[in-house]
Every structure is written in structure tokens, then in C-alpha cells.
């Protein structure tokens, strides 16, 4: 019956309204977190800039380090991909973008006969690669929206360990770089081994042309400093990537939730229209029935018909 349809529509509108409240709340939360995440990205810049500078100074001073992190392998057999995604969904194409980029890279490598291992950061990456039967090494989760340096350190130590032990010959970072609140891009950056190009590339500016180092005094010798410095440098790179990813995640989530809220509004509008029409239809039908019934009673006077209606409604 018409009245039943109206009730169903009312229920649907209520449920869409509830969903809209949730998406709206998530949108606002994400929006406020973008700002915080952006500040953290900015706060990490001085450290990574300075550590890059120190690495350059040391390299220029001919710190002929024997650090295994600097020595590239002649034959790159196994590549470790550190894939940074979110722990949760509801953030549009954020996770999918990173996963697709990493998967494409892995497939291309496999075609050439190279081996790989996935180091999944964030629950979504882990689920994605495990489900599809990829080799997943270590996994890290639980901090994608608010990473700390300790997390970067943990990941860094693990990948450097893998590299030094010879289990992998190359480590690549795949994450989403935060350019501004309106634009982010999925990037892939080589992490280990560090070569001059890697050091200069960083996550910021290129190396300046001068490259002339002042005559530094070193304590202890340059090689030892470099050996302790390089792990920190790798960690700082990972930390920067984690922060970029977190800021991007919030930006993606905000956009996704904004369009979800807009869609919910649209849906509510359409459903309300349909509901109003249904209600109007049922009222019209009812009136028609009453009128029809009264007519059927045999063309009585106006007065009788009025009594009839009053009787119906008081019932």
C-alpha cells in the first residue's frame, strides 16, 4: 500500500541522515588533523635538512667509509619495497594508489626475473598484499595517522638489517608525498643503498653546485662519524615519508568524506521528494475513496456527506 512505501522511505532517509552525520564528523576531524600533520611535516624539515648537509660535508671530505649502506650491489636480485599505506579505509583512492604503484613495480621486476619482498606499513597494505599472495616480510601497523620517530627507527633498523645481512640488495620506499592540502602524489624513492644521487635527491632540494667543503675537523674520524650517521639518515628519510603519508591520508580522507556528505545530502533530497509524492498520492487516493463512497450512497444532499466525513475521522 501507499502508506507502507512512505514509511519505508522515511526509514531510509533517517539512515542516510545518520550516515551523513558520521561522514560529516569524519570530514571535520580529518580537516583539523591535516593542519597538525602539516605542522609535523614542517617540524621535521630542519633535522632532515641538516643531516643531509652533514652527510654531504662528510662525503665531500672524502669520508671513505666502508659502511655497507653505501656499497651498492653489482647484481640486484631482491628488492624490498616499503609500502606505506593507512590502517583504515574510508579515504578514497589513497590506499589503492600506493598499492597499485607498488604492485606494478613488483610485477615489472618479477617479469625481469627479480625477487622482492614487501614490507607493509599500515594494515591496508598488509591485507592487500597478503590476500593476493605476495611475499610479505615484516609488517607494521597502528600508527599510520600519527607516526613518531620511534616507528621510523624500528622500520629503518629492520630494513638496514635486511640489507646488511644480504637478504635484500635494494630497498625502495613507496608512499604518498604531501605537496599541499589539495595535491598529493604517489612516489617511489630509493632508500638503500645510499649513493651520491640518493643523498642529494632526498625529499627536498638537490645538491648545490659548489660542493666545496670547508676544512672540517672531525672527532672521531670521518669514517666513524659517517658509519653512525648513515643509519640516522635512513631513519630520517623514513620518518619524513611516514609524516608525508600521514598528512596525505588525512587530506584524502577529508576529500572522500566531503563527497560522501554531499552525496548523502543529494540522496536525502531525492528521497524526500519521492516520499512527499507518495504521501500526496495516498492522500489523494483516500479522498477519492471517500468521495467515491459517498457518491455510491446515492446522490444524497451535501449535508449527509459532511456527516459521513465527520463520522470517519472520529473513528
Amino acid at each position: 500500500m501507499a502508506g507502507g512505501q512512505e514509511r519505508i522511505l522515511r526509514g531510509r532517509i533517517r539512515s542516510v541522515q545518520a550516515t551523513k552525520k558520521i561522514t560529516r564528523a569524519m570530514e571535520l576531524i580529518a580537516a583539523s588533523r591535516i593542519v597538525k600533520a602539516q605542522q609535523r611535516v614542517a617540524a621535521a624539515v630542519p633535522y632532515s635538512e641538516q643531516i643531509t648537509e652533514v652527510v654531504k660535508d662528510l662525503a665531500a671530505a672524502g669520508g671513505a667509509s666502508q659502511s655497507p649502506l653505501l656499497a651498492g650491489r653489482d647484481v640486484v636480485k631482491t628488492t624490498a619495497y616499503v609500502v606505506i599505506t593507512a590502517d583504515r579505509g574510508l579515504c578514497g583512492g589513497y590506499n589503492a594508489g600506493v598499492q597499485r604503484a607498488a604492485e606494478g613495480e613488483i610485477k615489472a621486476g618479477v617479469l625481469k626475473g627479480a625477487d622482492y619482498t614487501v614490507i607493509a606499513v599500515g594494515r591496508k597494505a598488509e591485507g592487500y598484499f597478503r590476500f593476493r599472495g605476495y611475499t610479505v616480510g615484516a609488517t607494521y601497523a597502528g600508527f599510520s595517522d600519527n607516526p613518531s620517530y620511534a616507528h621510523a627507527k624500528e622500520i629503518g633498523q629492520h630494513v638496514m638489517d635486511l640489507y646488511v645481512r644480504g637478504e635484500v640488495d635494494r630497498v625502495e620506499l613507496v608512499y604518498t608525498r604531501f605537496i599541499s592540502a589539495g595535491s598529493q602524489e604517489v612516489v617511489q624513492r630509493p632508500l638503500v643503498p645510499l649513493d651520491r644521487a640518493t643523498v642529494a635527491g632526498g625529499d627536498g632540494k638537490g645538491v648545490d653546485a659548489s660542493g666545496v667543503a670547508a676544512d672540517f675537523e672531525f672527532e672521531p674520524d670521518p669514517a666513524t662519524i659517517l658509519d653512525t650517521l648513515l643509519p640516522r639518515y635512513v631513519e630520517a628519510r623514513i620518518y619524513a615519508a611516514l609524516l608525508n603519508a600521514a598528512a596525505s591520508e588525512h587530506a584524502f580522507r577529508q576529500r572522500a568524506m566531503k563527497s560522501a556528505t554531499d552525496n548523502a545530502e543529494e540522496l536525502i533530497k531525492n528521497l524526500s521528494r519521492i516520499m512527499n509524492r507518495a504521501r500526496q498520492d495516498s492522500i489523494t487516493t483516500e479522498i477519492m475513496e471517500i468521495v467515491g463512497g459517498a457518491e455510491a450512497l446515492g446522490g444524497e444532499t451535501k449535508k449527509v456527506r459532511l456527516v459521513d466525513v465527520a463520522y470517519e475521522s472520529s473513528n
Binding site: 633535522y47 632532515s48 652533514v54 672521531p220 666513524t224
Partner: protein
Amino acid sequence: MAATMQVEVVSPERVLFSGEATQVVTRTLGGGEIAFLPGHAPFLGALVESHTRVTLADGQVLDLAVHGGFVQVSGTTVSILSDQAELADQIDRPRALRAKERAEDTLRREHDAEAAAALARAHARLNATGGIGAAAGAH
């Protein structure tokens, strides 16, 4: 006015301190304590856990606990990069005391690199907040 230099103490998460100073004392790996005055020759060093002191331009001394890292002196700037550094007023002294006792306890029984590192960190924290000697009576 005495010559000053720009001093920056930077951790990965933020800039802890940035300002003008007349002297910085810290401790390098294998080299012992070292002081930098304005005009120091370019210098690069790896640091160990230490109580680092920065004498500000107005004569005040800023105490820090620096747990490893690097120091770079170039031109008129001294930068201390540390993945773990704390200003004295952010240090939880009772907690550092407890950590010190725990580490000493462990070390009495066995040699443990982690405990030794924890002890070094506790010492740096205690020194930065009044010294280890004062610690004995304060608790």
C-alpha cells in the same frame, strides 16, 4: 658585547632550541667533553649521551640531556642533531633516578649493553637537572 654564535638543537620531531649563545659544551664519541666558542673552526663530531650546556647570550645556561647524535660547526652556527634530546625542564627526574637504579641493578648481575645505555641516558638526564650527587639525597 661579546661575540655570539647561532646555536640550534634539532631533533627529528622538532627544533628544541634555536638562539644566540656564547658557549656550547657537549661530549663527543671518544673525544671527551668539548666546548665551542664563537669562531670555532669547522667541526663535525659524533656525540655520546651527555649533559650538554649552552651558555646563552644573556649569561643564562641552558641544560640539555643529549642522547647521542651529531654536532656540526660551520661558520657562526653550531648545530646539534640528536634523535633524542631533552631540555632540562622536560626531564622527569624521579623517573631518571629510578631508571638509574634499575640499570645499576642489572649491571651488577650481568653485563648488558641495553642497561649500560640506559644508565648513560639516566646519568645525562640527572646531570642536566642538578647532578647525580644531588640525586642521592633528593629521594
